[in-house]
Amino acid sequence: MSFETLIVDDDALIIFIHKKLVAKNGFPSEPKTFLNGQTALEYLLSQPNSESQYLVLLDINMPVMTGWELLDNIQDQPIGKRVKVAMVTSSVDRSDKVKADSYPQVVSFLEKPVTNDMLQSLKAHFVS
């Protein structure tokens, strides 16, 4: 099955690295990248009729809109049901991890930088 990959991070270099890794690991499409939650949310909300699944590599701390705010905004949206999120953060806080569990969309909690192995196991969420 096919799914779209979104990379949301305020660090352009991280986006560059992640984009390279996603491409290399055989993800179905060219990932779309966003520098904050706001632009990513706008993109997702602009796809109301799409059948497509979305994998979002979501940074937590970002200007304009954080990862959490993005999650909160899609909770009651139809799109929310088609989004799977891997929280990607530079440092892991236990409370963040606990908080992440309360969002059904969050399937994984990753520490930057994302590796090939991490992406392979993420891909499994969509293959099955």
Binding site: D11, L13, I14, F16, I17, H18, K20, L21, K24, N61, T89, S90, S91, D93, E111, K112, P113, V114, T115, N116
Partner: protein
């Protein structure tokens, strides 16, 4: 030839007669050397001076009057003047004036003066004697005209006949008319050489009479010729009465001599008894004929014979003088010795007696008594202080032994448990006694009823033993017999009705003298018992005095110590001598001296004891505390003093006081409110901090109840706190109570407090008191809250920092991973390295920034 006047002048000066020429007014015109010499004056001293100047003042007027009279009348007599010379010596001068008619018509007197001091002295003394004698006398010439009489006669005559005796009167004129013929005859006889006497009783004014014994004797001159009559009168009123009495009592005296307790014997020069009064038989038991056949000196005790002989030679040397003080033992007819006290008079020269009169009486009882009293006094003196009892007892038995030739003398004393008598002293002055004690060593202790000592102890009265007794109560009988002892006495020593010991006395004669010794034994029993017990008590008291740790001393109110015990010396570090010499006020701390003296001054017979504390100073200068007890001694001016060293106690008091003060200061300084709840009395004390911390006023030493605490506990906490307190109090093993709660301050706000108490319990485990501290932890709680808050912030900061640090780090790892995968274009590789470098620089900057921030970071207080 020299001038005859000069010659006369020389003669006058050389003569022993003083010559003085005076004019009409009594001025001395001239005087010879002798005259001046009498008075110790020089010629110029007397010339032109009144002759009275060098006479004693009392005769000046009289002699001037005589002089004037002589000038006037030309008649004068030799007179005697008592004068003094310049040396103050008394002189009697005889002066004879002669009238000299001067050619110019004036009248001079030539007075010859002779020193008759020596001559007059004798006659004056006689005069004094005569005038002061008890006899009266009067001297008459052959015509019975009165020539001389003494003052006494004059006085008597005045007294009886109211007439003044005058020289030249006839003595017969003074007699009562009816006696005159008798007296004429009498005087004739006297003038013929006889001595006559007569008694005359004359009435005296008070209605009584006096009797005079008159002696009429012829007066003779130097040649022995009778020149007159000398009559002396003796007042025999009293002696006549006495003689009458004697005569009246003569019969009674005779009776006394014959039958009285005084025996009288008359011994001739050979020692034979020529007379014995009937009373001798009563005294000595011998009958008249037996006495006459014996020599009393042979019946005398051999020991007294020498003394008697000495006394007798004294008697022989003093004929007619009764010699007293001869005391000797004489054997009674019954064989016993009796003490006799004799007065012996040698009347061998008296023809009526022709013998030595020996008055004697039996003084055995008196003498024995005296000897016993002396013995007891002597024994008493042996019990001197500072002598040990054993030495004293040895001396005592030695003395008692020789008192009446006892062979054996021992003292046995009862031990303090009153179970055993022990021999304390004996006499071993002879070899046989040494042998006796050697052989009887086994018997030096006796229990009740054992041996003579034990039997005496049991009987509590004098017990005896005799060799003749078949059943012997004398354990050492065999050895005693060997030593020649044939009888013995056990005498109980009694003190306050208790037997304290036994005196054993042994004799070489069988005990037939029970009666004789009764009084001696009685005295020994009582006196010796008392003395020994007193000595034992003295020893005990001395020991007590010496070993007691308390100070005991005797002080005189004049400020000196008269006796001190060793404890006092030890405590004060002085020697006994030093303490006895210095005034005791030197020992007392000067600040306490007044108190001490006041206390002592308060002592009276009614309240003889006082107690007080004072400091005193040791020789080394240390200050000690003592609790004194002073008691007025029965002896005036003395105080018995005991003192206890309470220095440690005092120092403890000081320590406790200081500790209390420290505690008090701590309660002032601490931020804990100290509280002290006396559970039994429900009194609550709050320390000063209660006010400073909680604002509740604390008055010093104010006593509150527990309500003062409970009323301020927050209502929501109250039940819990009270339960916690009660649980702690009710558990006998719990010593600490702790609770945290809210406590209302005076301003109505609540403080968070920690309350900790230490529980004091009595022996049964009941809590009686709890002392605790209430700490305000409000600040501490908010402080902790602040810290927690800060920690939270720190955690956040740390997370943020790590997040910031991780961002470039993640990039570094990402790019390096890509480099390692080699899955890139060549130009991309160069780009990756650029990114890695930029990320590393960014990371470096971030870390430096964090370090700088850490330095600045301080914990905020709130």
């Amino acid at each position: 030839m020299s001038n005859p006047l000069n010659l006369i002048s020389s003669v006058l000066n050389a003569t022993a007669i003083g010559v003085c020429v005076t004019n009409e007014s009594g001025l001395i015109v001239d005087a010879n050397t002798r005259y001046c010499d009498y008075y110790g004056l020089t010629h110029s001293d007397v010339i032109d001076k009144p002759f009275t100047d060098h006479l004693p003042t009392n005769i000046r007027n009289k002699t001037k009057a005589l002089h004037d009279e002589f000038i006037r009348t030309g008649t004068g007599q030799t007179s005697e003047w008592d004068v003094f010379n310049m040396q103050g010596e008394s002189l009697i001068l005889s002066t004879t004036p002669t009238l000299l008619e001067h050619p110019d018509g004036s009248r001079w007197i030539v007075t010859t003066v002779t020193d008759i001091t020596k001559e007059r002295q004798a006659s004056r003394e006689l005069q004094l004697l005569i005038n002061n004698t008890a006899e009266s006398y009067v001297l008459m010439d052959k015509r019975l005209q009165i020539l001389s009489f003494n003052n006494k006669f004059k006085r008597l005559y005045q007294q009886f006949f109211n007439k003044t005796v005058t020289r030249g009167d006839s003595i017969l004129d003074y007699a009562q008319p009816e006696r005159v013929p008798m007296l004429k005859t009498l005087y004739d006889a006297v003038l013929a050489g006889a001595i006559e006497t007569s008694d005359i009783t004359v009435p005296i004014q008070s209605g009584q009479t006096r009797t005079y014994h008159l002696t009429y004797a012829p007066a003779t001159d130097h040649s022995g010729d009778i020149v007159g009559v000398f009559v002396t009168a003796n007042d025999i009123t009293e002696s006549k009465q006495q003689r009458d009495l004697l005569e009246n009592n003569e019969r009674r005296y005779r009776s006394l001599v014959e039958h009285g307790s005084d025996a009288v014997v008359i011994i001739d020069a050979e020692g034979n008894t020529t007379y014995a009064s009937p009373s001798v038989e009563q005294v000595l038991g011998y009958r008249d004929e037996e006495l006459k056949a014996m020599n009393l000196f042979e019946a005398m005790h051999p020991d007294d014979a020498e003394g008697a002989r000495n006394k007798m030679s004294e008697v022989m040397n003093l004929p007619g003088v009764p010699v007293k003080g001869l005391t000797a033992r004489i054997r009674h007819r019954d064989g016993s010795w009796r003490w006799m006290e004799a007065t012996v008079t040698n009347l061998l020269h008296d023809p009526a007696i022709n013998g030595i009169v020996d008055h004697f009486r039996d003084v055995t009882e008196y003498y024995t008594n005296e000897r016993e009293v002396n013995l007891m006094a002597e024994l008493s003196r042996m019990f001197r202080p500072n002598k040990n009892l054993n030495d004293i007892l040895s001396t005592v038995v030695e003395r008692v032994k020789v008192y009446d030739e006892f062979k054996l003398a021992e003292i046995w004393l009862l031990d303090s448990q009153k179970t055993t008598l022990s021999m304390m002293a004996n006499v071993q002055t002879s070899p046989d006694l040494k042998t006796f004690y050697e052989e009887t060593k086994r018997f030096s202790q006796a229990t009740l009823a054992k041996g003579l000592p034990g039997i005496t102890w049991e009987a509590r009265s004098v017990m005896s033993w005799s060799v003749s007794q078949t059943e012997s109560n004398f354990i050492r009988a065999k050895e005693a017999k060997k030593a020649g002892i044939v009888s013995a006495y056990g005498i109980p020593l009694i003190y306050q009705q208790e037997v304290i010991g036994v005196v054993l006395l042994g004799l070489t004669t069988s005990n037939i003298h029970d009666r004789k010794y009764k009084s001696l034994f009685d005295r020994i029993s009582r006196y010796l018992g008392i003395e020994i017990r007193r000595k034992q008590l003295e020893i005990e008291l001395n020991q007590l005095f010496n070993i007691i740790p308390d100070v005991i001393c005797i002080a005189s109110l004049d400020g000196h110590l008269t006796k001190v015990n060793p404890a006092m010396c030890r405590l004060l570090k002085y020697t006994e001598e030093e303490l006895l010499q210095a005034p005791f006020k030197d020992l007392i701390h000067k600040d306490d001296l007044e108190t001490c003296l006041n206390e002592l001054a308060k002592l009276t017979v009614k309240s003889p004891t006082c107690h007080f504390e004072s400091r005193f100073i040791t020789k080394k200068g240390d200050v000690l505390w003592a609790l004194w007890t002073s008691t007025l001694a029965p002896e005036h001016g003395l105080v018995f003093v005991t003192a206890r060293d309470i220095t440690d106690k005092k120092l403890d008091e000081v320590r406790i006081r200081e500790s209390n003060e420290r505690f008090e200061r701590v309660t002032l300084a601490t931020n804990d409110a100290i509280w002290d709840w006396d559970i039994r009395n429900n009194t609550l004390f709050w320390g000063h901090a209660y006010q400073t911390i909680f604002g509740h006023p604390v008055k010093r030493d104010e006593v509150l109840s527990l309500d003062a605490w409970t009323s301020n506990v927050h209502p929501d906490d109250f039940d819990r706190v009270l339960a916690s307190l009660n649980a702690a109090l009710d558990n006998p093993n719990e010593t600490v109570y702790t609770s945290e709660y809210r406590f209302q301050k005076a301003n109505g706000t609540y403080a968070n407090v920690v309350d900790r108490g230490y529980i004091l319990r009595d022996d049964s485990g009941s809590a009686v008191r709890i002392v605790g501290a209430l700490s305000d932890i409000t600040e501490r709680i908010s402080h902790i809250t602040a810290i927690e808050h800060q920690n939270e912030r720190l955690r956040e900061i740390a997370w943020i920092q790590s997040h910031v640090v991780r961002a470039p780090l993640a990039r570094l790892i990402g790019f390096s991973n890509m480099l390692i995968s080699k899955d890139y274009h060549a130009e991309e590789g160069q780009q990756f390295v650029e990114h890695i470098r930029a990320s590393a620089i960014e990371l470096d900057g971030i870390i430096r920034d964090i370090a700088a921030k850490s330095d600045l970071f301080t914990l905020e207080s709130k």
